[in-house]
């Protein structure tokens, strides 16, 4: 009986597993095994199946998200890759934005391209901005290059010609020639991987895809085999950065789309939680071992984007990573997690992160050789964590080691811990505020949905800093992303750039374009969902003529008609006003890029029923809890989460303990359990 569904999320520090069986949901958390990521997956799968007494053959679906592609990009462990580009432009990918992302650091280095200059080769050819061929492709020159790549044992090739998103004829022909000349070498064309304007981003995306392709192909094959050996014969689907899932086949072709899968799963979980609580304005807050992610949720819709930067090498600063143009859920990610390291700067101010102690050696309190103070050390010293219960008791904590490490911040370890907690919370709050303003939004009066191992420890304080009165901690919060995987639709997004003035739209061309995009997306989605009902979304990326950044405008789901010249302008004006609070009269509007996404219909859950209040729960113990907001330690009541039932309520200070995380209810907050067992924190202030 294929009744169970398994989700596996490999993160930077932890590998999380969730198993849904007809009766209940099981979860577990293991340290990631960076040398052989499949090992933790298979070990974890065996553990959780044993725990649930679920025969492997009962698993009907495995959904997997992994940081493996990301890690290969960060650690430069991908294939030997070459770039073939328009002659005269082989350095564009290295010049990047010709930019110093850190103004004051004269020692700053830009990330090295994944392909060194001697394997970036120009071929004579040229397409103009409107698609006209100015110089035909020199096929003989291309064959000569192919011979060179063969001699150099190149394993993967990226092809990116200027304006190929408008006219792909040269790239397609190059793909054919390379297939003939280099059998067995994987070739990624920019017109397939990222057919969008801006040569640096497009080239960077295509190279990243080519670079991880051989590795991901091999890993996914091994994992599928490993699962079979373990007796799990279920289909394997992969989580993408867009929040959709796809087949192994598509993932092996476009592995770059897998890079931000964990956070995407978290956002999908938060969307469901927002629906269950009927929240039209929420913020998803995911804090793990290495980073924190914040996503705005308005009207039960996730914000989407096509810009993402992987492997930010310099304090998570924008511009210090490799840009990839893929469908992503718009979120802000900062180097603030349980493992983030704290130190004092030149002015004696506390700085937290973005570097993390990771899973090896981990925070000082893990007792695995870490000596630098981290956020988890601060949480331990503040009394938020039960040393014998961390990660379900699998990682014993040593509070005295945490206290010792924190002495480098302040002789009084508790003051140091309060400072570290306050600064990391403020850092996350700042990032959230700036992210909101960049999206024309505000954080105040929203509800915070907290998940990921470290988020429930910091959520209440963060909410107060952001002017939010309410926090929801879902069931299984400590392994939230994996929960999200099981709620994600099978989906795919297709993009094209066609630059045109909105008042002179080429209606016939657009209709042909969208028909082709629909067919392309459908072919991919049908691989994993042959019979299901599909939902389509269309977006245009538009701007005022003269501007440099486009905004996303949702389009109606029907063929274009001549009236759309005025209609799209009105849609743009509305979207622009939403973002910037005003429109600019008399300016022309232009559209650059068009997307179509297709997904299986996953209706959101209905709002839950209210519950009748129950007598207050009985604490299992009390513990001293230091509150950084007040500077005072109080006796906090401790509750075991599994023992709390819907309707129960209790005031802070309190701690709710479960295997994968602890929820801090500070003084001034009230906690209650809703019909679905979620913890609701309300700020009394």
């Amino acid at each position: 009986m294929s009744t169970a569904r398994l989700a596996v999320d490999i993160g930077g520090t932890f590998t999380d597993l969730v198993l849904e069986t007809p009766g209940r949901t099981w979860s577990t958390k293991l340290l990631t095994t960076p040398d052989a990521p499949a090992r933790a997956v298979l070990e974890g799968a065996q553990q959780i199946l044993a725990l649930a007494q679920c025969p492997p053959g009962d698993v009907g679906l495995v959904v997997h998200g992994t940081t493996l592609a990301t890690n290969a990009l960060i650690e430069r462990k991908g294939a030997k890759t070459a770039l073939i580009t328009t002659e005269g432009f082989r350095d564009s990918v290295e010049m990047a934005w010709e930019h110093r992302f850190e103004q004051y650091d004269i020692h700053m280095e830009r990330p090295e391209p994944l392909v060194p200059r001697n394997w970036r080769l120009g071929v004579p050819e040229r397409v103009a901005a409107d698609g006209e061929v100015l110089l035909p492709l020199d096929e003989a020159a291309l064959r000569a290059i192919a011979a060179k790549l063969r001699a150099g044992n190149v394993e993967a090739v990226a092809v990116c010609f200027l304006h190929s998103f408008t006219n792909e004829v040269h790239e397609r022909r190059a793909g054919e020639i390379l297939a003939e000349e280099l059998p067995g070498v994987s070739v990624s064309l920019s017109c397939d991987v990222a057919p969008e304007i801006r040569e640096y981003e497009r080239t960077s995306t295509t190279i990243a895809n080519a670079y991880v392709l051989p590795l991901m192909g091999k890993y996914l094959g091994e994992l599928a085999d490993g699962l079979k050996v373990a007796g799990v014969n279920a289909p394997l689907l992969l989580m993408m950065s867009s929040g959709g899932i796809t087949t192994v086949e598509t993932a092996q072709r476009y592995p770059v789309r897998l890079v931000e899968s964990g956070p995407a799963g978290g956002a999908i979980l938060a969307l469901g939680v927002a629906a269950e609580n009927a929240l039209d304005r929420a913020v998803a807050f995911d804090m793990g071992g290495t980073t924190a992610k914040l996503t705005l949720l308005d009207d039960l819709t996730l914000q989407r984007s096509r810009q993402f930067e992987v492997a930010r090498a310099y304090r998570f600063i924008q511009g210090s990573g490799l840009p990839v143009r893929i469908p992503v859920i718009e979120l802000v990610e900062i180097g603030a997690g349980g493992g983030s390291i704290a130190r004092l700067d030149a002015l004696g101010r506390i700085q937290v992160g973005p570097d993390s102690s990771g899973s090896v050696p981990g925070p000082a309190c893990y007792g695995r050789g870490g000596t630098e103070p981290t956020v988890t050390d601060a949480d331990t010293v503040l009394g938020r964590l039960d040393p014998s219960r961390f990660a379900g008791g699998s990682i014993p904590l040593y509070p005295e080691r945490a206290a010792k490490a924190l002495e480098s911040i302040n002789a009084n370890a508790q003051i140091a811990a309060a400072g570290v907690a306050e600064i990391v919370d403020e850092t996350m709050a700042s990032a959230a505020r700036v992210h909101a303003v960049e999206n024309g939004k505000d954080t105040a009066e929203r509800t915070l949905i907290a998940f990921g191992g470290a988020a429930p420890l910091h959520a209440a304080r963060l909410a107060r800093k952001l002017g939010m009165k309410r926090v929801v901690v879902p069931v299984g919060a400590g392994v939230g992303s994996a929960h999200g995987f099981l709620r994600a639709p099978i989906a795919y997004e297709v993009v094209r750039t066609r630059h045109m003035r909105v008042e002179a739209l080429d209606i016939g061309m657009l209709n042909t374009l969208f028909t082709a995009m629909r067919a392309e997306a459908e072919a991919v989605v049908r691989l994993g969902a042959p019979d299901e009902v599909l939902v389509e979304h269309r977006t245009a990326f538009m701007r005022y003529r003269g501007q440099g950044h486009e905004i996303a405008v949702a389009l109606p789901l029907r063929p274009f008609v001549p009236e759309d010249c005025a209609g799209l302008k009105a849609l743009f004006d509305a979207a622009y006003a939403q973002l910037f609070g005003r429109t600019i009269p008399r300016l022309e509007v232009e559209a650059l890029t068009w997307t179509l996404s297709l997904a299986t219909d996953r209706p959101l859950p209905a709002p839950m029923a209210s519950v009748s209040p129950l007598p207050a729960a009985k604490p299992v113990a009390f513990r001293s809890l230091f509150d950084p907001a007040t500077g005072v330690a109080d006796e906090a009541a401790i509750y075991e989460r599994p023992s709390l039932t819907p309707g129960m309520a209790f005031p802070g200070p309190a701690l709710v303990v479960e295997d994968e995380t602890t929820t801090v209810v500070p003084k001034g907050f009230d906690a209650s359990i809703n019909a679905l067992g979620q913890i609701i924190l309300e700020d009394r202030a």
Partner: protein, 567 residues
């Protein structure tokens, strides 16, 4: 279960006052961080809503919050150091003209006075009072480079500031929420893109309004009624930090000079740098006089780039505020090109301003060896291209475009210089595909210039070469404002000079590095950007690095042999 906090608790009880001080210090840090986040939001608002490419792509904007004496408490880190001190000083001019006690909610004041703002007419500064619970608590100020300001446009060919466009003295712009419509009419009538310039001005006002709202939220949250205590904390902490950093340096005076191309005649930039206790003084006495073209630099812009250059070396992580502002004192005699008086032409003042950190670094290198980079291209190699009536020959639609590009930066004491990267400016480039989609231009080449990096133990950054033609055979023109064509970026400690820049036509004609010139129909513009200077003798470069440069094609086999002594 409460054992782990026992020892810490008793320590707290033993020393309650120490406990409170430590906590209040943390609270000050949190509020300081918050204030930095407020100005960051202010700046993001401006970048997102402004129109000019300079603001949007290059981040040529700034935003900050000030106390009621006009002391800056926090400034956003943006793409341009040119506003580092200049915007801070401009607030003082505003409150002299419009005393704070006369300011009302909804007021906004404006100027683009190059000598009271940020150095040229293109930069419009708006300063606004911020109220919290009905009480004036702070001032916000912001600046952006607008799309157009009339006059000669992007050209360095102007002779006096009067040629450079619309000059707005310190003026009320909005009074209690009501825009001065007469002023806006004058603006619209004087600029080429009235709708966009008006949009830029609205963006400045919105930017300060966001700052005011966010500051008020922060004060409410933290329960403070004034910024006095926080301001004092920020300024004193930062001042002490700067003083401590400067006190660690060798004390005394050092001198350097650098010759650059200038408009027609070479210009000598001379600086005496004195490190004295808690401050650094940079005296530009001896520098060439101001000239009859638009490359003169008002003192406010000189101060900005000088302070930025020093701060990068001495205290790069201390945030800018009134406590750091006075740590670098700049002196320059009136009438020299780095203290050009009204009514000198100043439009392309960055041509000089961007060279100043190199001048100062030559002096600092003598007392801080091993920390100072070699000279770089420094001046931006932006292509300011245009076609239309009076500007170009042949067919084609009129256009104006500025694309941001850079030559090589100087080698660092332990690292090669960055190729095709600006320093000290912090701008970003414009993609070729974007430039080609909005103009009738075709860029045929944009690639590193091999051998242009100054040879050295650490190699200078490479320049790049760009070739531009008109797609339909039309002509176009270039407003050239380039440096390092005659006088290259010099190396340090035996490192050699970077390659000189060059501007020419594919047909062979060499163009001047400054001033408006035409590219005839059918011809191609060839822009060869300079390289940065090297650091340390080339003979000391690790042979493996030389070999790698040859493999990568950054250094030719011949240069490897001749300059680096490779086999």
């Amino acid at each position: 279960m409460s054992n782990q906090n026992g020892p810490a608790d008793s320590a707290l009880r033993a020393s309650p006052s120490g406990h409170q001080t430590a906590l209040s210090d943390i609270r000050m840090q949190v509020m300081w961080n918050r204030l930095l986040s407020v100005v960051e939001e202010q700046a993001k608002t401006l970048v997102r809503t402004a129109f000019s490419t300079a603001a949007r792509e290059a981040g040529d904007i700034s935003a900050g919050v000030f106390d009621l004496q006009g002391q800056m408490l926090a400034q956003a880190v943006t793409g341009t150091p040119g506003h580092v001190n200049s915007m801070a000083r401009s607030v003082i001019h505003f409150i002299r003209e419009f005393p704070v006690e006369t300011m009302k909610p909804g007021d906004h004041f404006v100027t683009n006075d190059p000598w009271k703002g940020t150095g040229h007419l293109y930069d419009i500064v708006v300063t606004s009072p911020a109220f919290h619970e009905g009480k004036l608590v702070a001032l916000f100020s912001c600046t952006t480079h607008v799309v157009d300001i009339g006059g000669w446009g992007q050209s360095p060919d102007s002779r006096q500031v009067f040629h450079e466009g619309l000059f707005l003295p310190l003026l009320p712009l909005v009074r209690q929420g009501v825009f001065d419509e007469s002023l806006m009419k004058i603006v619209r009538a004087n600029v080429r893109e009235p709708v966009q310039v008006e949009g830029d001005i609205h963006a400045l006002v919105a930017c300060n309004a966001i700052g005011e709202a966010r500051l008020s939220e922060m004060m409410k949250e933290h329960g403070i009624a004034t910024l006095d205590e926080l301001g004092e904390h920020i300024i004193s902490r930062s001042r002490a930090g700067m003083a401590a950093a400067i006190a660690k340096l060798p004390q005394g005076s050092w001198y350097n000079e650098m010759r650059i191309d200038g408009y027609n005649d070479p210009i000598d930039l001379k600086a005496k740098v004195t490190i004295a206790g808690d401050h650094v003084e940079v005296d530009y006495t001896g520098t060439s006089p101001h000239v009859s073209f638009g490359i003169n630099c008002p003192i406010c812009y000189t101060e900005a780039y000088t302070a930025f250059g020093v701060k990068c070396l001495v205290a790069p992580t201390i945030p800018n505020n009134a406590g750091t502002l006075d740590a670098v004192l700049v002196k320059a005699p009136e009438n020299c090109i780095v203290n050009a008086p009204w009514p000198s032409a100043v439009n392309a003042r960055s041509t000089i301003g961007h060279m100043l950190p190199d001048v100062v670094y030559g002096a600092l290198h003598q007392c801080m060896p091993g920390t100072v980079p070699a000279e770089g291209t420094s001046n931006l190699w932006n292509l300011k291209l245009a076609a239309g009536h009076g500007l170009s020959e042949g067919v084609g639609v009129p256009f104006q475009v500025t694309t941001f590009h850079s030559g090589g930066a100087g080698a660092r004491p332990t690292k090669d210089g960055l190729s095709a990267t600006p320093f000290p400016s912090g701008v970003r480039n414009v993609p070729v595909e974007i430039t080609e989609s909005i103009t009738p231009l075709v860029i045929w080449k944009k690639e590193y210039r091999p051998d242009s990096g100054g040879p050295g133990e650490h190699r200078g950054g490479l320049g790049q070469v760009m070739e531009v033609s008109h797609r339909h055979g039309g002509g176009f023109g270039i407003h050239a404002t380039f440096e390092r064509v005659k006088f290259a970026a010099r190396g340090r400690e035996g490192g050699e000079a970077g390659g000189n820049g060059r501007l020419s036509l594919a047909s062979g004609t060499v163009l001047k590095a400054k001033g408006f010139q035409q590219v005839p129909p059918g011809d191609k513009l060839v822009v060869e950007m300079p390289g940065g200077g090297g650091y340390g003798a080339a003979s000391k470069r690790d042979p493996a690095k030389v070999a790698r440069d040859v493999t990568l094609g950054l250094v030719s086999a011949e240069q490897a042999k001749v300059r680096y002594g490779a086999e």
